[in-house]
Symmetry: C2
Subunit: 345 residues, 2 copies
């Protein structure tokens, strides 16, 4: 049986004084005499008193909880983001409650409902992959619960946002490939309609355009961003008579899949085909050859998301109406590795 925790009342009874005196003594209120404070802290220590955060939350109307929702906690991008969020939140005295959407909109809605009931002070979320109706997020905003969307977000929502500039990342990647002498660059995209993949495609197109390379529709492939899909696409692609000289994948997984297939075919990487992925997954620097990729600074993303939440909370408290949603867009970094670095420069 769970032992009962000591309460302010217990301390008050012990000393035969009022609870409010005890409460104030413990928070060093000026109206309480030093003698009383001493006595109170002594008894508090004896009874192993620990303030009941739930009771405090009820009175203060704030739970000190941040709801954090990601598709899955074990995708390395999100795992790092959570790390960043936890560290900043903890410093500021907030605890984080984790929810997984499993990339499913209904689960997303259910989770938001749970957060409402838990009276979280704010929500940091990366929405489900195929979410297209954002009204449940609009509800969050309408209820004036601070909402910070990270990585994945929708422009129709007036929320805080912290994300990576996918467009720029892709632009950098493709420009790099062109600089390496590539002219026929395949793009393996993710699910079209998902903002981040649309942006990467846009960056791809723009880089081509800026370098006077014609955009060819049939060099772009949709994928589910799995290794297997990368393999299959590449296999099919190599049945064509005209081969590309580079692959830019919107995710590291298909980049790896492509690399594996090409290696097996004896295609020289990067000389015959250069490869660039996206996300800078750990394995990109372990495989042979190492894969050039775009670093998204996921931990930093999480830290900033948490920081924005904290800023917003304190602004809300000050009631000055400086509450324009904040959009922080990080510029991703291209990490050049063997898979795209042609020696002949």
């Amino acid at each position: 049986m769970k032992k009962k925790n000591a309460t302010l009342t217990d301390i008050a009874n012990e000393l035969d004084i009022d609870v409010s005196t005890v409460s104030k003594a413990l928070k060093n209120h000026p109206n309480i005499s030093e003698t009383t404070k001493k006595k109170v802290s002594k008894v508090a220590r004896q009874l192993n008193y620990r303030p009941n955060a739930i009771a405090t939350a009820l009175v203060k109307g704030s739970s000190n909880l941040i709801g954090v929702m990601v598709p899955h906690t074990d995708e390395s991008f999100f795992a790092s983001a959570i790390r960043g969020i936890e560290e900043i939140a903890q410093q500021a005295g907030y605890n984080i409650v984790i929810f997984q959407s499993h990339d499913d909109q209904n689960t997303e809605i259910k989770n938001l409902e749970t957060m409402y009931r838990a009276r979280v002070d704010g929500i940091i979320a990366s929405h489900a992959m195929y979410t297209s109706d954002f009204s449940h997020y609009q509800d969050v905003i309408d209820q004036d619960i601070p909402l910070i969307l990270f990585d994945r977000f929708d422009n129709s929502l007036d929320s805080d946002v912290v994300a990576v500039d996918d467009y720029k990342g892709a632009y950098k990647a493709v420009t790099h490939l062109i600089e390496q002498g590539c002219k026929k660059i395949v793009h393996i995209s993710g699910n079209m309609g998902v903002h981040i993949y649309d942006e990467r495609l846009r960056g791809y197109k723009q880089a081509l355009k800026d370098n006077d390379i014609n955009f060819e529709e049939d060099l772009v492939f949709e994928s589910d961003t799995s290794i297997e899909d990368g393999q299959q696409l590449t296999t099919k692609l190599w049945d064509r008579s005209v081969k590309p000289d580079a692959i830019f994948a919107a995710s590291d997984n298909p980049a790896l899949g492509a690399l594996q297939v090409l290696k097996a075919k004896g295609v020289k990487i990067p000389d015959d085909v250069a490869i660039v992925g996206f996300s800078n997954e750990k394995f990109t620097s372990y495989v042979t050859p190492t894969i050039t990729s775009v670093e998204q600074h996921s931990r930093r993303l999480g830290e900033i998301a948490a920081q924005i939440f904290i800023d917003r909370i304190s602004k809300d408290r000050q009631e000055n109406d400086n509450k324009l949603p904040q959009k922080v867009i990080l510029t991703p970094e291209l990490i050049v590795r063997e898979s795209s670095q042609r020696k002949r420069k």
Copy 2:
């Protein structure tokens, strides 16, 4: 400004009835007439009423929160475990609050204190790497807060435990190497004194013994389980006149480090040297050659941990004293890959 949430009182006022009636109506209490229930749910919907979990927690004396502490959320082992925990917890109506210890004992203690104050209903934790004094965990037990230690644990503690049998995993790995014809097997360990690494070392020794191979002290190396350490150790090792014919690393990182160095040296893997790692990190199946490793079923570990918590809670409620701590030890699985599979069999 945060909008005020509708309360039971709001509904009661609207209908000019008592809050308790409203409360009971919403939970379908038999004493309330159907007519009233209808009216109440209607108004509840109109006002967008959502039960305040904090108030309920205060009355019920249970927060519906599980505190989860890991060294870092972005280590893939823990990230998966968290995934497992979240899924089971969520199903059972519990939310999980995440804490990181950063492998630091003081942070660990601080986090436990925060959990106490948050009145978590239970704690699932994997203790900090170098924690040797477990009194802060004993405190948890003494306060009758369900404590489930996973992966890393200490035998002096009478807590629930769910872990992988490191001894068996190592035993399997080394036996496999011997079966492949290896006789001089190096072991790259982690920090000695840490239970999991001690166990892996023990498994290594026993497998040697059971196969009549002498244990040689100078084939065992302590490492910080980083790739770099694996590289350095291997480099030094290859300066010796007599080379080993296998490396069993207690972690995948140094296994990878060793593999990289040996590949660079032109050493044939697995024919000259076979390599086995531990943890089955994703990258083990992506690198060339792919690395044999020991799968620890981390997500499953998390699921079981959460399940044990739930069982314990319900047992506590029944007050039947069937409360012996539960120890679940999973048998790890050896995933044989190229780095140790000699064709000549």
